[in-house]
Symmetry: C4
């Protein structure tokens, strides 16, 4: 079988994992509306090339929070990577090293932070706030100690979204796969007449105050992950954070959420040029990366493709996915007449009429 | 079989009732355009969450005509509920009690108003004007005597819509099921050259004068049910009514009618903040409830799902439907960052681009 | 089989005629784009009812060029009606009489004008300009003599459109069916280097001068049939004509033409309130009639349904189609709260969002 | 089998060539989005006819760079025409002569420029810049010597697009078919850490300076082929070029590119009336030609249909395709009321609502 694009990986991934696991990974929240919109929303934009530009100095480097990335495609934090390959996050780390890609490691990693940190230079750590501040702090310290160079606090799933597909398929974590750094949250406690959702599960959801507290505990630059509104992006900027990830969690939190690619331009307009914006959710093609950057993102992340590459061919599969995407992106730069990422502006993009 | 959402109930309901009955309940007017648009119109809106808000005081209570409802999901008036379950409206009443849901009882109830009133606290009564004012008044008195706390006058079907699906399936009321409080209307009388529709069936259609008359007969707050235009909503407000139900009768009156979810924002703008707006027609999901409220509704009603729950599992089925919907709604509040219904504003919603 | 709407007639008509004849009648020009758009364009509009209006004086009468029509649904000029029923135009005439419908008779009628005029009160005559003025004049005189009360000059097919479906099906007029009042046009004559289309077939296409000439020959009110632009409608008005038919010839002339229902509002705005506008092309339902009137038409015509009714049940079939459509229209008036056609205004209509 | 339109040729072409060749010709870049959009974008426009105009002086002649074309339909440069017919470009040239069509010959022609020039009057030459200026100049001189009357420099594929369909089908040029005037480019050379795409393949991509150089080498009028932005069109105009071809290379360069038919109006507005604009990509029907001209093009080109006609019936097939398209175009002029191409203005066109 040919693997000429991420679509090929996506199509064949089902054959490389048990069906419930596939449903857990591939599925979105509820009726998959956000999931499907994430893909089709990219089609709402078309590219307007410019011709005859010089490519003497061409390159795809981007600069973010003082770091230079060889290209703007980042491996998103994805939990439990040992679900689909025994080496899990370690393999992904090797693939990122091989392809000069930035890696973000989940709080729910199934391999130790330190071991991952040995396979890839200065990864970033995705943080889920824990029920107790002390637990949260311990996670941060472990990341710092292992040389992680930024924190990405995920704020869009204070409570799990509905996972109808996973539920119908009977998905459960196999005993051999677990989050090595965190333990299960206690069941929610509510009083009579209280809502198990609004008052139970949401009791420990983090707030802006908790973000301020976190800033005081660490020197690492902090991103908020899961922002869709201009208001929240501006608030993050005013709070002195490093940037935000414009994301709907790959369509896995709340169905009906807007697509990041439709929000990114307004958010860039709101925060101005100097605030880092990373976009994820539905990025599958080099043209998607180009569109995200043209509309204001500094970089993008991919989630599910990591798991598909891992399932099909381990570190090699992940590396091939990242390489394919980078090549597609650079080909898009070439055909669109943009020799550098700075040249990828809104004038190279138009709404599909 | 799993019942994880109202869609599961809807899908399986057909197996729990004779086909003609299913066609009568599930069908819309004519070619089902309004029916289908009611559903897809919700997809025209997407949700923009805000993050990191405090949920300390979170709850889903709404206030309407001086009454506090535990949540904004109301059981719509649906005729002849004994069609699908022997206990009919009594079972629905029990389910509303169990789930803290407001119930509205149809003029065409197949169980006595008084008996229903014993199963649920302060239900509302849906009124169809009768050919004779005396008959209309008698219905109102019966509702008042049984402790009903509001009237909902349905004004969007002065004449029955075309029910092609029910007609093709050969639907007719079985002898055992009948409207216990009203008797059949006499066949229309017309003169030569008159239209059986415009002059016959429409002869006794109610007018604004009849509404004014009704206001003089009762102390109960009155809603008009079946409003789609800003003009009519404003006229209802100026007439001193309690509110209106923005509805196209679940797509059962006139095919081609606009969808309530597309009219609600303009109507809210026309009447200002202090007039009660209830929306129905196509509400099937917690995100639908959220969108309706974000666009200006105070509460929503569901019609067909009541019949599906009833058909599949009686009072338990109806209660489960109402519970599922409330949980989806509260989950949407949580993930959208809205701790109370007051926080659900237009800034949390955006047109699908 | 049930015949509850024109859709039922349309679906079953194929079984009542040879396939090539069906393709000739049902087909549009070329790829059927205009044909299909004609139908779907009606769906771009939705109805906003108003409630609680008095129907004391309700009726569906319209006034046009000084004539009162019992309702606004007119039988369009359709050629060769004997193709599908031996009595052809005579049966259609009887059906129009039975249903109080205005009839328009084609230049290409397969029954004599005079005989038709005996079956229906004051029909209108649809005129195709002939290669010779004398032939044209003779047609007009025959119509005048037979009591026809208006002329409708068709201007949108100076040359036949592409009829791919009819051509592929091998359609040809059977020997027994012919236009009884006109003879075949001579083949086009062109010089070397001339275009057989632009210089050959178009050599005898009528111009505004010919219309002026016609006005001098007759006292009958004249409609132009086949107008889609505001410019042409205004020119017809300034020329002193009685009105225009906003039409794309049922999608049979040029594929890609705009749909009349999308042009009618702009044309009404251009000509003001006092100029008669009739709309055809794709009208199949009472709600279509309502929408056309709400957007500015005074009346509508139906073409193919006449042939379907005729094929399935002769005069009875045509009458039933006209009756169904009128009843649907009056039901729409009732449910939309419009007791008269004057009440059907743009405020009762909205673009589907 | 009937061949009544280019669609018939397109459908049947697959049976007249090996599957990999068909995939190479029919396919677009990557996922075929640009390819498919090219077709559907034409449907976004509809035609508004005007009626009763005089066709006394009707004709379809256009004037371009001082040359009179009998009609505005041009055979686009298509490489390797011997792939589908042994006579290749020679047959196409004969067909252009027979149908009074302008021909453009590709740099990658599989027949000698001189031999083609003997079969058709003053063809144009499509130029791809070669790695060495000297090679480029030699091509220009060969074209000049063979009587070619214009140059068309293709600028939208400095690097080949992704040809997933051709790749998956295993397409390769058969040994018997080759570009007779150019030799293969050397493989790209890059330094460590350079991108094979951005620094390797793009090393020899032409720039505006190269265009200026070319203008100094030749007297022939020069078109740029592959322009989609107003900026580039204006720059071409200011550089003193003869015109541009608004094109996305038939959807073969970069997927996601905008459709030329959606860009042409803005480009015409930017360059004013005196600069030649040719449109290609997806033109398949006479109404497409009409729409392109109404929106501002002076002429159109067709690419793939040439290959389909050639494959099915050699010179005769190509001639028949060109004749069909011209007849459809003239029929469109007739039914839209435009006796000359000058009459085809924006007032005859409207966005599909
Ligand atoms: C199986 C799976 C597990 C994920 N786990 C996490 C996680 O632990 N933390 C987190 O912030 N995001 C997590 N995400 C979301 C991703 O970081 C990312 O936002 C999303 O996958 C991007 O969308 P895409 O999958 O369409 O590329 C997960 C996504 C998937 C598919
Ligand atoms: C079977 C059935 C019977 C109904 N009977 C009544 C009725 O008696 N009175 C009334 O005002 N509305 C009646 N309705 C309309 C509902 O009150 C409500 O407006 C509608 O069902 C809402 O749309 P939904 O079914 O999509 O939720 C009925 C609806 C259905 C489906
Ligand atoms: C089979 C057929 C024959 C027609 N013949 C004529 C005709 O002779 N003269 C004319 O003006 N229009 C003719 N028309 C067009 C109709 O008058 C009318 O404009 C069209 O049918 C309306 O569209 P509809 O068929 O969608 O209702 C014909 C239409 C059909 C379908
Ligand atoms: C098989 C094939 C080969 C082509 N070769 C060339 C070429 O050598 N030079 C060039 O400028 N364009 C080339 N084109 C592009 C055409 O000139 C033209 O832009 C395109 O085909 C127009 O789109 P259409 O195929 O939809 O009509 C080629 C197109 C095809 C399909």
């Amino acid at each position: 079988a040919d693997f000429l694009s991420l679509a090929d990986y996506e199509r064949q991934a089902q054959d490389f994992m048990p069906h419930p696991v596939y449903e857990y990974i591939a599925g979105g929240a509820d009726r998959d509306q956000a999931l499907n919109n994430n893909r089709t929303s990219f089609d709402d934009w078309q590219i307007l090339p410019s011709v005859l530009n010089s490519f003497r100095q061409a390159n795809s480097t981007v600069h973010l929070i003082g770091q230079a990335l060889a290209h703007p495609i980042i491996a998103a934090p994805v939990a439990y990577q040992r679900l689909v390959h025994n080496e899990g996050e370690l393999a992904t780390a090797q693939a990122c090293t091989a392809t000069e890609s930035q890696m973000v490691v989940s709080t729910l990693t199934s391999q130790p932070l330190a071991a991952i940190g040995e396979q890839v230079a200065s990864p970033w750590f995705q943080l889920y706030f824990q029920a107790q501040k002390q637990q949260t702090l311990q996670l941060v310290r472990q990341a710092e100690d292992a040389g992680y160079s930024a924190l990405m606090v995920t704020v869009d799933v204070p409570i799990n979204g509905l996972r109808i597909r996973a539920q119908k398929a009977g998905f459960a974590l196999p005993p051999a796969v677990r989050a090595v750094h965190v333990s299960d949250a206690p069941p929610p406690l509510i009083e009579a007449n209280q809502s198990v959702i609004l008052n139970g599960y949401m009791a420990h959801s983090p707030s802006w105050d908790d973000i301020a507290w976190l800033q005081q505990q660490t020197q690492l630059p902090i991103f908020l992950k899961g922002i869709l509104s201009t208001h929240d992006a501006s608030q993050a900027q005013q709070a002195g954070l490093a940037g935000v990830v414009v994301s709907n969690h790959g369509g896995r939190s709340l169905d009906c959420l807007a697509s990041p690619i439709h929000q990114i331009a307004a958010i860039r307009a709101a925060v101005g040029g100097d605030f880092s914006l990373i976009l994820d959710s539905g990025v599958r093609h080099g043209t998607d990366v180009f569109k995200a950057l043209a509309l204001g993102a500094n970089a993008v992340m991919i989630g599910r493709p990591i798991m598909y590459g891992l399932a099909i061919a381990g570190a090699l599969g992940v590396a091939h996915c990242l390489k394919l995407l980078r090549e597609e992106f650079e080909l898009t730069m070439a055909l669109a007449g943009c020799p550098t990422v700075e040249a990828i502006t809104a004038s190279h993009i138009t709404r599909r009429p």
